[in-house]
């Protein structure tokens, strides 16, 4: 009997572990997901996908970090009463590896010659060395971290 209980416990633990890690992983946009800021479909631009994951597991997709932060700084709005405290994490696509990573781990480069679907972008790059390389290669000098970002620093268009 205790053996069986132990097994049950193990299974419960495994399952909860699995669901926990599942919840933390952001899902990728499907074909119908649109950016709530510009209204464009997100799926055709896998190299720019950015997403806000809320604590209730819902996700919003954006076609670039710029639109995401526009939305982020505007919260809560008339259409979306959620506050920033309800956000679990923000994920951006690392320019060099094309993988979604938590925004806290990324550097944001402003004013480069790399344009996103919505024009000038904040380009997310993982790692300080890579960020400096990117800035040098693509004619920018402005490397930001998430804490330094303010609404005034978002690119205009």
């Amino acid at each position: 009997m205790p053996m069986r209980a132990l097994w049950l416990l193990l299974i419960v633990l495994l399952l909860s572990g699995a669901t926990l890690s599942f919840a933390a992983d952001p899902r990728m946009p499907n074909k119908t997901d649109r950016c709530p800021v510009c209204g464009m479909f997100v799926a055709p631009y896998p190299e720019w996908v950015a997403t806000i994951q809320f604590k209730d597991d819902s996700q919003l997709f954006f076609d670039g970090a710029k639109d995401l932060f526009k939305y982020y700084f505007a919260l809560p709005t008339k259409d979306d009463p959620r506050t920033r405290e309800q956000i679990r994490d923000i994920f951006l696509t690392d320019y060099y590896t094309m993988q979604l990573r938590s925004a806290g781990e990324l550097y944001l480069i402003r004013g480069s010659d790399v344009y996103g679907p919505m024009g000038h972008e904040l380009v997310p790059v993982a790692g300080e060395e890579a960020a400096k390389t990117f800035a040098r290669d693509h004619g920018s000098t402005h490397i930001l971290t998430l804490d330094q970002l303010t609404p005034e620093l978002l690119p205009e268009d």
């Binding site: 190299e47 320019y95 060099y96 590896t97 094309m98």
Partner: protein
């Protein structure tokens, strides 16, 4: 609606009444469309084929140049490239050409790639030890080979080598499987007498396609004697080459198109006295000018559409069933050395539409305008003249 049906009926009957004239126009019309459509089909297919071959290829190929000529790449060239941010992997490749004087074909011999995702093994297994090879299905068909048979090749030292075929593979494109033989890498080096610290080129795969151009620049900066070639660059070159060749052919065919236009103009506009009288009579018995025009429009449309459809079908058969025997040498260029390959049918509707516009519209205009001239004159004077 019934009115138009009746007019169409009358138009077809009147076409049949002048069988000889209309048939000759139809034949020449069909041939013109067939020629132009063949060029379009063939170019389209070749471009498609090139795209398919390249889509499975590496994002960036790095070659080495010495004295302006292609040289073997030292394996340690891969290290600085691997360190560049954005590079997913760098794979040295060993490959080369082999001319089989018996079959008179050029074969591509390649060391087994580490990630042969574009190859689907049909039968057997991948070669693993020396004296084992895998061949493309096209080669197997040409030589009449199967798994377990042996292939005789002559190596760099002039020695005859017997290789056992352990696997057959195929890819999405016939171009690849028709000349590709896979070797274990060590065996291929021995076959070509290639030093172990060199490779033919480096295949670089890149995460973000936007970064390929920047990476190519950086590779050239770090390795000044290298020549990085991007996938899009190759595609672009193929595109330009095929465009240029098909453009040349189309220019040549333009003479045919113009000749056809002159013929059509002559045949269709030179309304005979008979036809003039017919129009006069029709008007006299109460037809409107619009009816006469509709009639001529239907006649022109019937001839054009039949010729266009026949021409397209003829072109399709010529290109895909008979392998474009009449045009292929011109468009493919020197690649006639390659073994035969079947084209994958691919039709660009937009191009067909343009072709239709270029041939159908002028013909209908040719038939309608002179009839309109005859139809607006007084029936009495038309019949008298």
């Amino acid at each position: 609606m019934t009115r138009q049906w009746k007019l169409l009926d009358y138009a077809l009957a009147s076409l049949l009444r002048r069988k000889g004239k209309n048939l000759s126009i139809l034949v020449i019309y069909t041939l013109t469309v067939a020629t132009l459509a063949s060029v379009l089909f063939l170019t389209q297919s070749l471009r498609q084929e090139a795209t398919k071959v390249l889509s499975g290829g590496p994002d960036l190929v790095v070659q080495r140049l010495m004295a302006g000529r292609h040289e073997l790449v030292p394996l340690n060239y891969a290290d600085p490239i691997r360190k560049l941010p954005g590079v997913k992997s760098v794979q040295p490749r060993v490959w080369g050409y082999y001319y089989d004087s018996l079959k008179k074909v050029n074969l591509t011999l390649m060391g087994l790639p580490a990630e042969p995702e574009i190859l689907v093994l049909l039968e057997g297994e991948r070669p693993s030890k020396g004296q084992e090879i895998a061949v493309g299905r096209g080669i197997a068909d040409t030589y009449g080979f199967g798994v377990g048979d042996s292939l005789l090749l002559i190596d760099a030292a002039g020695e005859k080598q017997l290789y056992r075929i352990t696997g057959l593979f195929e890819t999405g494109s016939d171009l690849l499987t028709n000349d590709l033989i896979l070797f274990p890498e060590a065996e291929l080096r021995r076959f070509f007498a290639m030093p172990t610290n060199r490779a033919t080129d480096l295949a670089v795969s890149v995460y973000n396609p936007r970064e390929v151009a920047t990476l190519a620049q950086k590779v050239r900066y770090h390795l000044p004697d290298s020549r990085p070639i991007g996938k899009t660059e190759i595609l672009h070159t193929y595109d330009t080459v095929f465009h240029w060749r098909s453009g040349m052919l189309l220019t040549v065919s333009l003479a045919a198109l113009i000749a056809f236009c002159i013929l059509a103009w002559d045949k269709a506009t030179g309304i005979s006295a008979d036809e003039r009288r017919e129009i006069g009579i029709l008007k006299a018995v109460g037809w409107d000018t619009t009816d006469v025009l509709a009639l001529k429009f239907w006649e022109g449309l019937a001839v054009s559409l039949v010729a266009f459809l026949l021409g397209t079908i003829l072109a399709w058969t010529h290109t895909y069933v008979f392998g474009a025997g009449l045009l292929a040498p011109v468009i493919q260029g020197w690649s006639v050395l390659f073994p035969d390959f079947d084209l994958t049918p691919s039709v660009d509707l937009y191009q067909l539409f343009i072709l239709g516009m270029l041939t159908v519209t002028p013909y209908i205009a040719c038939t309608v305008i002179p009839s309109w001239k005859a139809a607006i004159t007084d029936p009495d004077s038309v019949m008298r003249s």
